[in-house]
């Protein structure tokens, strides 16, 4: 993905009740919200921003059935083909006895796979360096970063944010690498979403 320095207008809000209408207005005015950083999951903000639903749970399901089939095929192969052991004269293909391990591996594959997928998608890893728009975004501020294009008038955008209720507004330059995320791509335009 293309790197390079990009310019952002960053507005901080101290109440999610102010943030919601602001997100709506900013999008209505045609600005491109890069992302909103919040100290806790604000329910409905993803919808307000026009983000699509995550499908991480589907990935979880796929990992789960991978675990189920791995466990079943492996145990069947071991006990019927590779080394059939006579255990108290019981059948070699002892399906009921394999239920516990099959279940455990289903859960294990699903959980580990989902967490790794989550870390990959969000680019989370111990030594990754990211640009943090505001240190208090993990404390008590809701930080909206708007990407500037060559057409954007910074001054106008800043006063727009001020009117929308942002308490602290500044301009920041950040390098956009693979790690900064390109979630704006999956945002639909406000008028497409609302049908006007």
């Amino acid at each position: 993905m293309a790197g390079g320095i990009k310019k952002f207008v960053v507005g901080s809000f101290d109440d999610e009740a102010v943030l919601f209408p602001a997100v709506k207005n900013v999008r209505k005015a045609g600005y491109k919200i890069h992302d909103v950083y919040t100290p806790f999951p604000v329910h409905g903000l993803d919808h307000a921003m026009g983000l699509r639903e995550t499908s991480i749970h589907t990935a979880g399901f796929i990992y789960a059935i991978t675990g189920t089939t791995t466990a079943l095929t492996f145990m069947s192969w071991v006990f019927t083909k590779d080394w059939p052991l006579n255990i108290g004269g019981k059948p070699h293909f002892a399906l009921p006895a394999w239920v516990p391990i099959t279940f455990e591996l289903t859960v294990l594959f699903s959980a580990v796979g989902m967490v790794l997928t989550f870390c990959y998608l969000c680019q989370l890893s111990p030594f990754v360096k990211k640009h943090h728009f505001h240190a208090r975004a993990t404390d008590d501020l809701f930080v909206m970063a708007i990407e500037c294009t060559e057409k954007t008038d910074d001054a106008e955008l800043q006063s727009f944010l001020q009117k929308a209720g942002a308490t602290e507004i500044n301009i920041q330059h950040a390098e956009t690498g693979w790690w900064i995320g390109r979630y704006d791509r999956e945002q639909k335009l406000y008028r497409d979403e609302k049908g006007y």
């Binding site: 950083y37 080394w83 052991l85 516990p100 294990l108 959980a111 580990v112 870390c119 989370l124």
Partner: protein
Amino acid sequence: MSLLKYESQQREPLVAGNKDYHQVTEDIISPIEMKPSRLWYIGFYISVGLLLFGAYSVYREVTYGIGQWNLNKTIGWGWDITNFVWWVGIGHAGTLISAILLLFRQGWRTGVNRAAEAMTIFAVMCAGQFPIWHMGRVWMAFFVLPYPNSRGPLWVNFNSPLLWDVFAISTYFTVSLLFWYSGLLPDLATVRDRAKTKLRKLLYGVASFGWTGSTKHWQRHESLSLVLAGLSTPLVLSVHTIVSFDFATSIVPGWHTTIFPPYFVAGAVFSGFAMVQTLLIVVRKVMGLQDYITLGHIEAMNKVIVLTGSIVGCAYLTELFIAWYGQNPYEWYAFSQNRANLFSPYGWSYWLMMFCNVVSPQLFWSRKLRRNITVTFFMSIVVNIGMWYERFVIIVTSIYRDFLPSSWSTYYSPSIWEIGFYLGTFGLFFTCFFLFAKYFPVVAVAEIKSILKTSGENYKVKMTDIEKSDSEKFYVDEVEHGH
């Protein structure tokens, strides 16, 4: 003020005091940034001391063999497996709180889930020690893993409940750890962003995996937590079910009962909540978190204790009845003579268990006692003693007299190294817990913030006013921001 979700005014606030988001961060994170108190050091060194004694006990056992323990011909499982089951049981509360209560949308979980999950992980670590060191030739421990080997390959026995246990415990440990740590990421990022010293910035920066709080990340995080909760719910039930299979699939009188799985799970939750109470009553006091772990939280957990304690009591009586009703002389002998007969060698342990697990939790039918901290703390210890004796009764009283009276064993009491091993796991548990309480946010900061405006005391007061003054407007607000 936003009214994101309506919560009944009848409900007690989950966060007491006049808090805003920053205050929540301040209250929970600042103990991490301060030097630990003298009390912390004392507790920590005692724990490390116990851990060292445990390590020496294990060293003796490994060097000189299992003979260092007083296990004998019929009592092949004694304190070790008792302790194993006890610790695994304790390790059930955390996942129950974080997973099952998440699915049931219980808001009070937010105050206690982080510490309870940490406790779960440490308890499972302690539990794992017992079967591993009990192997005797512990350097062969990897034989329990099904890996291609040069002995055939001779695989493990997938039909054996002991192997199911290997899978169940290791899966449970892994999944609990992932669940706990993925929840910790945002809070570690909060610590990182407040850090003043370089070292702290670096360490918490590494630990928080570069979390930014992006909306998309939160969306995925929420989805991840929900699915992990959905997976952990059957998982937590399966773990103690499988532990109970260690006994229930055998033909030993007193063990081969079909009631074991549900009865073990209820017992596990019972003892787990007792341990959470023991720890949190101390933590909230020492770290000044009374506003986040309120009397309401303690009461809610006591309700779980009285429920699960009563389920366990029902199970005891059911198995006693069925032992008689089933008309199997060996089964009935195990129950009537080895256990219920107070004057048999281990009769005292059966009645001690009955008293601690069945009789004493009934105190918690009284609201006043449920909300009394001293009583709760005392009861949490009593319950843990009772639950330890439950496992002791199940294991020892079933096997000390087998089918051949001539091989009935002499009275079993543990050797100093058996006790030392047990104390050592306490050392391990508390060493980990002390480090956790010092270096990690013991209450889930982000989760508290997400319920603050619906369940915080100051917001609830304001909400009452709005509700009374202008119900029309309240409704509009609700629709506007309700999701």
